[in-house]
Amino acid sequence: MIQKVRPHPSQNEPLLFELSSPGKRGYQLPELDVPAADPAVELGGENVRSEIEDFPEVSEVEAIRHFTRLSSWNYGIDLGLYPLGSCTMKYNPRVNEAVARLDGLSWIHPYQSEDLSQGAMEIVAALERALAEITGMDAVTVQPAAGAHGELAGIFLVRAFLESRGNARKRVLVPDSAHGTNPATVRMAGYEVANAASNERGMVDIEALKQMVDEDVAAMMITNPNTLGVFEEEILEIGRILHAKGALLYMDGANMNALAGIARPGDFGVDAMHLNLHKTFSTPHGGGGPGAGPVAVKRFLEPFLPLPRLKRSDAGWRWDYERPQSIGRVRAFYGNFGVLVRALAYIMAHGGDGLKRATLDALLNANYIRKRLEPHYEIAYPTPTMHECVFSDRRQAAHGVGTGAIAKRLIDYGFHPYTVSFPLIVRGALMIEPTETESKRELDLFADAMIAIAQEAEENPELVRTAPHSTRTAKVDEAGAARRPVLKWRRTT
């Protein structure tokens, strides 16, 4: 039975452009206290546009209704469990939003003098210290703007280090269960990708790895726990194999929320890694960004970190640009400061014990979901689960119901779907990550929904295949969108 939702009316709303009528305005500017400049004179007539054709013209009330109506067509963590595996959709505490908006933190310019920015620099330094402690690494840069950007900076600095040793090498090993960003990053850093196979336990195959690692291998990018939610139990051996050939161990820290407080990558052989502050440290995903992707490294890689670095002087914090071995800038300014503030607030609220407790709760919730669903869905690997569990749709597929259909049917039950068809090594994957912030009540509602869908798949597969049935927007034709791309609104006359 569908317990979490029932239908309610939702408003229709045209696009801004269709809502517009000439002369409407939603803004007020003060009267100019200086003479008005003549654009044609000051800029030259050829440099001035006559108008912004078809740009919207709406009133303030129309604008707020427009966006509020749009918002009501979205699902968010604030509405319920959001079990996207690998994405770590946990509750975003609102105090973090409040502090990031304080005038003293939001109205500071990156080029105002260092003496006038000491509070901001201290926040960056405090976050770097905390992340170094949590990861067991020696140095942290918070510059990268997102996880994929952190990966890129991380592999750049692996390359810069190896170049400094006289040979950049050719290849980076990426497990077949890895996020797509890993191989894409490797290419952008000028390396070839070599896929490392997983064994029957869902872990890196050590014997195969030994065969692959030679003097042409620059590094291995490993996610631990991996995307199956499985801890790589041979991680120490993996590090030894790579290091013996002079290659580095890079860790994708997407799943650091399974380790914070119970194990540290710096203690298990990792040389460099990135973190996703929007996952483990709960900064809001915002419909897809902004995030932040700090990179943490061992001491020997510190000289290669991006510019600039924080440096303590007698007069307080300074930005240090005199770092000849640095990979250089990966972006303008110092990082996604507003996101860093939120992450530090999250760490402060938890403290060391709280972070560990959050990790344990995440493990508990994932294992609880696994336990409840295992009789109904086929678990992909029998290996112990950390923070997320991955099932295969094999049993349901026998009735013609795939993971994509089960996901859409879940929407009718009031939940956002899990991650569909990833990792690629699992046939028809259902990747479920409940996170620590869900109550048993919400987890049970979710498990009940999943079990009900498993039953529907057997008794009424058509019902599942044609889902969702209760959303204001019915199943969306994605193939049609790609076949004939319409990427902007056009006036139809």
């Binding site: 078809d54 203690d267 419909g287 897809g288 569909v420």
Partner: protein, 433 residues
């Protein structure tokens, strides 16, 4: 719940971890704090930053008024706490706003396609350069030329990507009178291996570039023109760079607080033929099963989660929430408002610019370079009056040690601009003594 799992204690949940791997003690972090203590800590840090009073800094991050509507919209949990809109049926809010955003970006830039946003303007530039290289597959064009008038930190970012991603980056100079990119130098350096010329307008000195001519020169040698902007408000008044093939820009001016330089949001827009080379997310229009208009992410075959090492970029998410802020901002100001806002910026900058000795004579929007003998000292003097002055340029341009970049926006008051002019003229008087 532990009983359900047949476990005695929470620690059993990670019993599979090898003993050597398990952290033995507690993390060395302060104990957890209450909400009040956290607010208190950040208030105290905020008080250590100068954040009130007038400022004349621009240089890629601008101080514009943020309409109250913006935070009201982006604070809604349905926007704030949602993920990338893969599940179109329950993400129409985000998808619709992205579609509107893409449309407005095309209207502003004169391009035919715009993506759903990038991390920021600086990282959009190397992504645009890589796009230009891909647009000419097999042509061996792996060289890009960037004007020295482009933002120095954007150029540094491009060089980093170039060093590791096999883009040969070369700069071309600027005209010492006009402050515009030296297009003769560009013409000299363009060759058969050049994938793109990259020109920012208004440039780092605030000066409007001749994009038509730059485009003609680039196209003549079979290269593309990448137009860059850091001050989005300028597009309310300036002719869009229609001659360019790709536009890479920064949207901070559209409702983002300076926030010490991040988060920001970038954009890449382009002409139709290059659409499939775009990095990042794209929203497209389609229909749902009932025939109603709907939107979804599309052309994902370019992206890393489908194509892995063959993707156009490793970029995963965009800056959706910030793109939404920009969308709300553009809706609030609208057609007339954005023009009036740009006009106020132009007028303020020309009021102050008219009182000072300017280094360059090219047309400028809301920033300009003033000649000041001792820019650091002038800034200190202004600081005593509670005013943050301009950016001394010697740090980025050794030949401009005696120059300062000043920015005026709609928030600059006449009295403060008069104070800046007075401080500058005193500096000049001292210098001539």
């Amino acid at each position: 719940m532990l009983d359900t799992l047949g476990m005695g204690r929470l620690e059993d949940l990670y019993a599979q971890l090898p003993n050597q791997v398990v952290l033995k003690g507690p993390l060395n972090l302060p104990a957890g704090k209450s909400e009040y203590e956290i607010v208190d800590y950040f208030r105290a840090r905020g008080a250590e930053n100068r954040h009130d009073g007038p400022s004349f800094l621009g240089a890629g991050v601008y101080r514009h008024y943020r309409p109250a509507l913006v935070d009201a919209v982006v604070s809604r949990g349905e926007f704030l706490t949602s993920y990338t809109p893969y599940q179109a049926e329950i993400s129409q809010g985000t998808l619709t706003s992205i579609f509107e955003f893409q449309t407005m970006m095309c209207q502003l830039t004169g391009m035919e396609v715009a993506n759903a946003s990038m991390y920021d303007g600086s990282s959009a530039v190397p992504e645009a350069a890589l796009m230009a290289m891909r647009a000419r597959p097999g042509s061996g064009r792996n060289r890009v030329l960037i004007a020295r008038t482009a933002h120095p930190e954007y150029r540094e970012t491009l060089r980093t990507y170039g060093r590791f991603g096999a883009i040969e980056v070369e700069e071309f100079g600027y005209d010492r009178q006009s402050g515009q990119a030296d297009l003769t130098d560009l013409e000299r350096k363009l060759d058969q291996r050049t994938a793109a010329a990259i020109v920012q307008s208004p440039n780092f000195f605030g000066i409007v570039e001749n994009m038509k001519q730059a485009a003609a020169l680039a196209h003549d040698k079979g290269a593309l023109l990448v137009a860059v902007f850091t001050e989005a408000v300028s597009l309310g008044l300036l002719a869009p760079p229609r001659e360019a093939d790709i536009v890479a820009g920064e949207l901070q001016s559209f409702a983002l607080a300076p926030s010490y330089g991040g988060p920001l949001a970038g954009i890449i827009a382009c002409k139709e033929p290059f659409a499939r080379q775009l990095p990042g997310r794209l929203a497209g229009e389609t229909k749902d099963a009932n025939g109603n208009r709907a939107f979804c992410l599309t052309l994902a075959a370019r992206e890393q989660h489908i194509r892995r090492e063959k993707a156009t970029s490793n970029i995963c998410t965009n800056q959706a929430l910030i793109a939404l802020m920009a969308t709300v901002f553009m809706a609030v100001y609208g057609k007339e408002g954005l023009r009036e806002l740009a006009l106020q910026n132009l007028s303020k900058a020309h009021y102050l610019g008219g009182k000072l000795r300017r280094r360059f004579n090219g047309p400028y929007f809301n920033e300009f370079v003033a000649v000041v003998e001792e820019p650091e000292q002038v800034n200190q003097r202004l600081e005593h009056q509670g005013i943050i002055g301009g950016l001394p340029l010697g740090r980025f341009y050794p030949e401009l040690k005696d120059a300062m970049l000043l920015c005026c926006t709609e928030t600059s008051r006449r009295t403060d601009m008069d104070a800046v002019a007075a401080a500058m003229s005193r500096a000049e008087a001292c210098a001539t003594l």
